[in-house]
């Protein structure tokens, strides 16, 4: 797994934002997972003041024309560390920001990345609509969960370039090209992936979870269909939205696919049997091998039940 060129960079940014947060948070690190592709590993944890919303993996790709940043972290505080981490690696301009989906842990640092230079903000065709509906709700929860000081200044500018389901957008970074692809409803209704063709690296957003239990917030059936297509992408490694910084592809998909299939089969069985929604979560034992299973597993059962009722 460990490659010769893989380095770890410690970006010491302990001063301003940490002083605000007050807690002795871990240093904000990035590591190079493939030539010119750097990843910051978010904590496998729920939103809490001590992690400042830094719970999702973030990545950037360095090309000769500039830097493409993929996701922005869960608060302006994380966004500031994230921009500083890019600056610690390269002085090429930050030109592009891709938001892989609407979830708050991926987007609330976006304003900070845009302020650092990203003129092009790429999002799913439904992102603006989804964020319009959910943004106020998310902002209120995040402020409560992270604390107003950490969350202050968190903003999510609208995409300047949208990608529809099934559409592929190629961006020329100079010495390399990335392909951004929009997906039908799966993890959410706003999922994008970024494929770096030069290195065969898939930046999967939350279409791929490792370690942290997958969260179904779009469509279980849709996600299972998307996984089949995703598995055929010409990549050799993946940066998942949650979990390790990098993992082999498509092997990294196996655990998530198994969980989602098992969830589907079990919930479908209960719906057929006439077991009620209230009883269903307790009837499907929590899966092993995942972290943060409670309460997300029960919520997944609930969401899947409401969806699969239409199928039976």
């Amino acid at each position: 797994m460990r490659r010769g060129w893989r380095r770890t960079l410690l970006v010491a940014l302990l001063a301003v934002s940490r002083a605000v947060a007050g807690a002795a948070a871990a240093p904000f690190t990035v590591e190079e997972v493939a030539p010119g592709i750097w990843v910051h590993r978010g904590a496998v944890a729920d939103f809490a003041p001590d992690n400042r919303g830094d719970i999702a993996n973030l990545a950037f790709v360095v090309g000769t024309r500039g830097v493409l940043v993929v996701d922005a972290g869960g608060s302006a505080a994380v966004g500031r560390d994230w921009v500083a981490a890019v600056r610690g690696v390269t002085d090429r301009p930050i030109r592009w920001l891709v938001l892989t989906h609407v979830h708050p842990d991926h987007v609330f640092g976006a304003g900070t990345v845009v302020a650092a230079g990203a003129r092009v903000i790429v999002g799913h065709a439904r992102l603006a609509r989804a964020f319009a509906e959910r943004g106020p709700v998310y902002a209120a929860s995040m402020e409560r969960l992270l604390g107003p000081e950490v969350f202050a200044g968190s903003e999510v500018p609208a995409p300047t370039r949208t990608v529809a389901p099934g559409e592929r957008l190629r961006l020329d970074l100079g010495d390399r090209t990335v392909e951004i692809r929009g997906w039908p409803v799966a993890h959410t209704d706003t999922d994008l992936t970024v494929l770096d063709q030069a290195t065969g690296t898939l930046l999967a957003g939350d279409l791929v979870f490792l370690d942290r239990l997958p969260v179904v917030d779009g469509s279980l059936l849709g996600w299972l269909r998307v996984l089949d297509e995703l598995a055929r992408l010409p990549a050799t490694r993946v940066v998942p939205g949650h979990g390790p910084a990098v993992a082999p592809w498509p092997a990294a998909l196996a655990a998530e696919r198994r969980y989602l299939r098992d969830l589907h089969d079990a919930v479908r069985g209960l719906v057929r049997e006439g077991v009620s929604l209230a009883e269903a979560p307790a009837r499907i034992p929590p899966p092993s091998g995942w972290r943060l299973v409670d309460p997300d597993h029960g919520r997944n059962v609930t969401a899947a039940y409401a969806e699969l009722e239409w199928e039976e």
């Binding site: 979830h103 998310y138 929860s141 969260v215 949650h242 919520r299 969401a303 239409w310 039976e312």
Partner: protein, 266 residues
Amino acid sequence: MGRPGRKWPAVLSLLLLWAAAGSSVAGESSRWDEIRAMLFDDRPLADGTAVLELEAPQRALDAALVPVRIRARAGAPPIRTLWLVIDENPAPVAAVFRLDPELARADIETRVRVNSYTPVHAVAEAVDGRLFVVARFVKAAGGCSAPGTRDRGEALARVGRMKIRPLEPVVAGRPVRVKIKIAHPNYTGLQIDQLTRQWIPPDYVTRVRLRLAGRTAVEVESDISISEDPTFLVTLVPPGEVELGVEVEDSSDRRFARSVRLVPEA
């Protein structure tokens, strides 16, 4: 990741039907006194614990989809009306179920939105007019009112689809649970569309009539507290092979209907 706790926007608090005169979290609320007075004047409400069972999770997994079941206990008198009240919701009376005791039993399940920690009350009116009340306290995980799970165009295109399914074999003259699921976004009217800066207009199912051979077995008056894709599990007593008709009306004056045949097993 996902839902950081679904929550109704804070603006909801401005729109409460009653001034939030400070309610306790102990399971008794001052709102209940007002709701009760509005619904029942000064009619006495007897403790219903021996008559009614109210099932609801202590802590909801998804505050926008909280399953609630009300059922009469063995030996309860025949019941003709059930009220489901979520005290702290903007529109607390989630649903009223009017039953024909010959064709339906008091065993009803639905799914509701829960705005904040709240007592939930169920009231039953027996055919002799006596009223019984039971309550439970529900903690909604982080609050409520997520936006719909589908975008508006898609949600409205699906309006009118229905799923009607008996959950057990049909036997003439015996109670059978039937699930009715209605595709409808059930918009509350309390959400702002940030793109257009307009309120999303309320658009919700107001009435569901279940007819057995043309006779109304159950009539549901429902409101914005009922979850997206309103779902009702009712207990019908089909006299024999019979047509079950489901007629739905919503606040936008849409009307749609579907029917299935309930065929007793040989």
